[in-house]
Amino acid sequence: MSKITVPIGPQHPLLKEPLSFLVTLEGEKVTNSTLRLGYVHRGIEKLAERRTYIQNVYLIERICGICSHIHSTTYCQSVEALLGLEVPKRGLYIRMLLCELERIHSHLLWLGVLSKNIGLNTLFMYAWRDREIVLNIMEEISGGRVSHAVNIIGGVRVDINEKHLSLLQESLQELTIRVEEILRSIENDRSFRARTRNIGYLSLEDIKRFCVVGPVARASGLDMDIRRDAPYAAYDELDFEVPLMTEGDVWARSILRILEVIQAIRLCTQIIHNLPDGPISVSAPRRVPAGEVVSRAEAPRGEVFYYIHSDDSQKPARLKVRTPTLTTLITLPGQLKNVQLADVSAVIAGVDLCIACADR
């Protein structure tokens, strides 16, 4: 059979953001693939050096649409550590609430994308319909469905009142029922299993070698979660489990993400029941003393890493962002070896790419 090179991207119905894959096929089997990033590179790190710390909160949120809140949380956390500020408990709880809601939103969106890519349009419609519940809550609280602009240096900008709390309780109950239905249907649906089982396998050694993080790593047996191992915000006061699976294929990643959604709903319920009273922010000086800080957080796709070096001024001297998608992208050419063309869509959807995060 002759070799055909199929370009997947930069524009392709399979990809939500531009990414270039050149897949070499022999018949229906993939023999080689090359990866090219950089189509959405905006130079965020260089831009951040020219803006003040307060202006950077606005910039950092726009690295990615789906994980915008976790980026600004990590950034604000690091600047607050440099300033020596202590955010009041209520502010921390509101930050965590939005982090968990964003996690639910991201995983439901991802489930829709995976289902569409393997042809199961019904599950795509159901997952995105349930995602609307979460988007409604986030819009009520912060005013924006996807980009919230809730964090400021020193705390949060919006407060949660009684109306929000009752809306949250109703919506979370409804969401629990729907997500458990989705979990049952994924576990039992034969056509879903036929398309995702034993596809895109990554062993634990590969995970450790490539330093992969997030649900992809946890689905292969690596027990790592920043919320539990190095708690930030107020995660050490909450009670949750970190799901773990060992099969390492796309099916395991799907089940794991839905289990994480269930845990996130549990965290949200705890947050709204234990919300402490008090102020939501402290005022922050504009000039940040010299120093370095490293902070990490658990984004929906894994560990997000920030390093800030400040000289004694209003603008950072160096801001370094490392997003989790960059770690999973390294594993893709390996996963795509000897896979059929029809499985390429399942594999690429299974690692949950957020190219805007990876390119910055």
Binding site: H41, K46, Q77, R209, C211, V213, V293, S295, F305, I330
Partner: protein, 159 residues
Amino acid sequence: MTIEKTGIKLQEILNLDRSSKKLIPLNEVEITISKQQILLAVKTILKSGIWHLSAITCQQLENEFVLLYHFWKSGGLTLLISLDENNLQIDSICSLVSGAEFYEREVREMFGIEFLGLPNPTPLLLPDDWEGGYPMRKKEPASQEKSNENPLQDKGKSV
């Protein structure tokens, strides 16, 4: 082994004095080493059970470049290496940690630091026909002076 013990072991093996280690916020231990010691340091770290490399950062200060390797295992360990601006070369750690490839490629294209032994030294984020130098350096502009027209575009004809 915990981060504390690994830090102490590194100081022993590499003969570092007490001032090379300091604590920075959010639970991070930073150890300054010289660039020849990088491979030995990474081997020691891997042997003590810390295998997760979070990122490789580079920064340009007044007359030197600083490379930071961030490791993590329930606590962070950062290796700080200072490079003289006339000799921007260092050994690549891709043979020890395969996941470092993307980070080293990015540092190479953004700052111009040569990693000896990097398996795939092609640009990661910048386009293939970039002519603007090393964008993240202090004196460089952030964009290149070139038109946006794509010479490879074929303007076809309609049927």
